[in-house]
């Protein structure tokens, strides 16, 4: 069946479009409206994962502080569209400003790390991520910029042509909660991000990033300005993160530093690694799985109550446990990710092939 779909790309696209359009209704009526909310978060995480994939997957720069850019986008939205400063700018103005500010911070935080690679880069970016969070936590005095750990409340919802996404809508005898509208908004931005990321990968810029990932000295010897290309990767990744942050702030209506901790950075990185670094479908799959599975595991609590009468293992503990097991299993059996990119697949397969060949040669030599 998959083969049939591959041969008919137009039909596949139409089916996919219909499915994506109908998905919130299927989930909402099938599993309950809380699942539409889960869908919204899936899309936000896909957006984040695609952004981080530019930095980690394309350019090979291990960034453990990515969530800082999500935070910057979210806080900028809160500052410009909430009672905190009494500003209520429209979202179509605030979102681009937030994305651009995050991009600028991408360059600012990226520039001191240009000489670093691998472990060292990871540690420094991890530090930057924490610094941003701690700033947000403490910038309520002397001037109240972030309202500290209490966070900023009553952030304006997105509103298009006088229609506010913040209130439910009664239509055709149904009441649609805001999560439905945000689904389509997020979907639009996610599709745009996928388009941009794919175009970038298959371009002069994308090849330069890949070259830097493979061998930075050789890349420079081929005329690539490695400094600018690395900063560009940081900036592009951060821009996507800032965009996701702005959407998150509008959607939640409330943000606090707690939403932007180290765990979130690691989670987004895990999505990329699990799905298949560098490969957009893999990254999407990783983001979907790591958002949906924890939600689905909540049902295990109800299951235990129904079968055993009380909750033996707290589902949230179980989530972490299964998450760990899944990652270990994946590293053992599918180290290139669930949907690896063409090249990484060959890279890992090749090593096996070479090892086998070497074994065979060894036997030949003995015989």
């Amino acid at each position: 069946m998959l083969d049939g779909l591959r041969k008919r790309p137009r039909l596949t696209a139409i089916l996919l479009a219909v499915l994506l359009a109908a998905l919130p209704f299927i989930m909402g009526f099938g599993l309950g409206n809380s699942w539409v909310r889960v869908l919204d978060f899936v899309l936000l995480y896909v957006l984040l994962a695609i952004g981080l994939n530019i930095v980690v997957g394309y350019a090979g720069l291990l960034d453990l502080g990515y969530i800082a850019f999500y935070a910057i986008g979210a806080y900028l939205y809160a500052w410009l569209a909430s009672p905190h400063f009494g500003l209520h700018l429209p979202f179509w103005l605030v979102l681009p400003i937030g994305a651009m500010l995050a991009g600028v911070f991408g360059v600012l935080l990226g520039s001191p790390t240009l000489r670093l690679r691998g472990d060292y880069l990871a540690i420094v970016t991890l530090g930057f991520g924490e610094i941003i969070r701690i700033f947000m936590n403490n910038l309520n005095a002397p001037f109240n910029l972030t309202n500290g750990p209490q966070g900023i409340n009553l952030i304006d919802p997105v509103s298009v042509a006088g229609f506010s996404f913040g209130k439910p809508l009664d239509i055709f005898g149904m009441t649609l909660p805001p999560t439905y509208f945000y689904y389509y908004l997020f979907l639009a931005f996610t599709l745009l991000a996928i388009f941009v990321a794919m175009r970038l990968q298959d371009s002069r810029i994308g090849r330069a990033w890949a070259a830097i990932r493979e061998d930075e000295i050789a890349a420079a010897a081929m005329g690539i300005n490695t400094r600018n290309m690395k900063l560009l990767a940081f900036a592009m990744g951060a821009t996507f993160g800032g965009l996701a942050g702005g959407l998150f702030a509008a959607f939640q209506g409330f943000i606090s530093p707690e939403s932007f901790n180290l765990w979130e950075s690691i989670l987004v990185l895990c999505m990329i690694v699990l799905g298949g670094m560098g490969n957009i479908p893999g990254v999407i799959l990783g983001a979907v799985l790591l958002t949906v599975i924890p939600e689905a595991l909540r049902y295990l609590g109800d299951l235990q109550r129904a079968t055993l009468g009380h909750v033996v293992v707290d589902p949230s503990d179980l989530r972490m446990l299964l998450f760990g097991v899944a990652l270990v299993a994946m590293m053992l059996y599918r180290p290139a990710g669930l949907l690896p990119s063409r090249q990484r697949k060959r890279e890992f397969a090749a090593e096996d092939g070479v090892a086998e060949q070497e074994q065979a040669d060894l036997y030949d030599a003995k015989a």
Partner: protein
């Protein structure tokens, strides 16, 4: 007449701490020639390459390409000036395809930015087609027919050497510096490579060649310089260098008579 000077290296010294890897080295490579750089292990040949191509900064001295100073420029700027190189220990982009490796070489000669990449307008599409065509042409030129889709890391050793040359040629150099391009090859492969070098030179690219295989250097190079302990001990045409007592001493040991 090919007596026009293309690369002028004058008084180049490179010290690592107290160790002088290069001491007052001067070379003059003329346009259109194949210039050999030989010397025993550790003589400073690769260090000189790294100094010329911007990987190391000079302690003192000057490097000029076509009259324009190169010292202080970054490696990518030196490539843009028309000076490309290969590496002694092959440095391909192992997990990219062979063709993509050569396409990366076109980076300095193309310009599409972020907007061009995303919008992919007519100009960008034409540029991409041009990059691909030129890369394919270069693959054929160095003798890698139909190997464009293979991963660079999977190519046979000799093909990897060829690919590195194709990738360097993609930058449209005036001067191509090859660091031991036939190391580890058998005699028939060496002969083929030597033919390739001549073809490249006849195509208008000046070659600067580090090589250990004295026989190949003598047969191929118009002029040869010999480095020993970071100093140039001889320079001239192949025959005269071979007779030089200092060179014989450096290679065979003992003190020059």
């Amino acid at each position: 007449m090919s007596a026009m000077s293309l690369l002028q290296v004058s008084g180049v010294t490179k010290r690592f701490g107290g160790l002088a890897a290069l001491e007052d080295v001067s070379l003059d490579v003329r346009s259109g020639e194949i210039y050999g750089l030989i010397g025993p292990n550790g003589a400073g040949k690769t260090t000189l390459f790294n100094c010329m191509t911007g990987l190391y900064s000079l302690t003192s001295g000057e490097v000029k390409l076509d009259g324009a100073p190169l010292q202080g420029l970054k490696p990518h700027q030196i490539v843009a000036c028309g000076f490309a190189r290969t590496f002694q220990n092959i440095r391909l982009f192992a997990n990219m395809t062979a063709l993509e490796n050569v396409m990366v070489g076109r980076h300095a000669r193309s310009r599409a930015g972020i907007l061009g990449a995303v919008l992919r307008g007519r100009g960008t599409r034409a540029e991409e087609t041009d990059i691909r065509d030129k890369a394919r042409h270069l693959m054929d030129y160095v003798g890698l027919h139909n190997k464009g889709r293979a991963l660079a890391g999977h190519l046979a050793y000799g093909d990897q050497r060829r690919l590195e040359i194709a990738r360097a040629l993609a930058t449209e150099p005036k001067l191509l510096a090859l660091d031991e391009p036939v190391a580890g090859m058998n005699p028939s492969e060496r002969r083929q490579m030597s033919e390739l070098f001549q073809r490249v030179r006849d195509g208008g690219v000046t070659l600067l060649l580090i090589e250990h295989d004295v026989k190949l250097v003598m047969g191929l190079c118009d002029r040869v310089a010999v480095l020993d302990y970071g100093r140039k001990i001889a320079e001239g045409d192949a025959a005269s260098v071979q007779q030089d007592t200092a060179v014989i001493a450096a290679y065979l040991g003992g003190s020059p008579a």
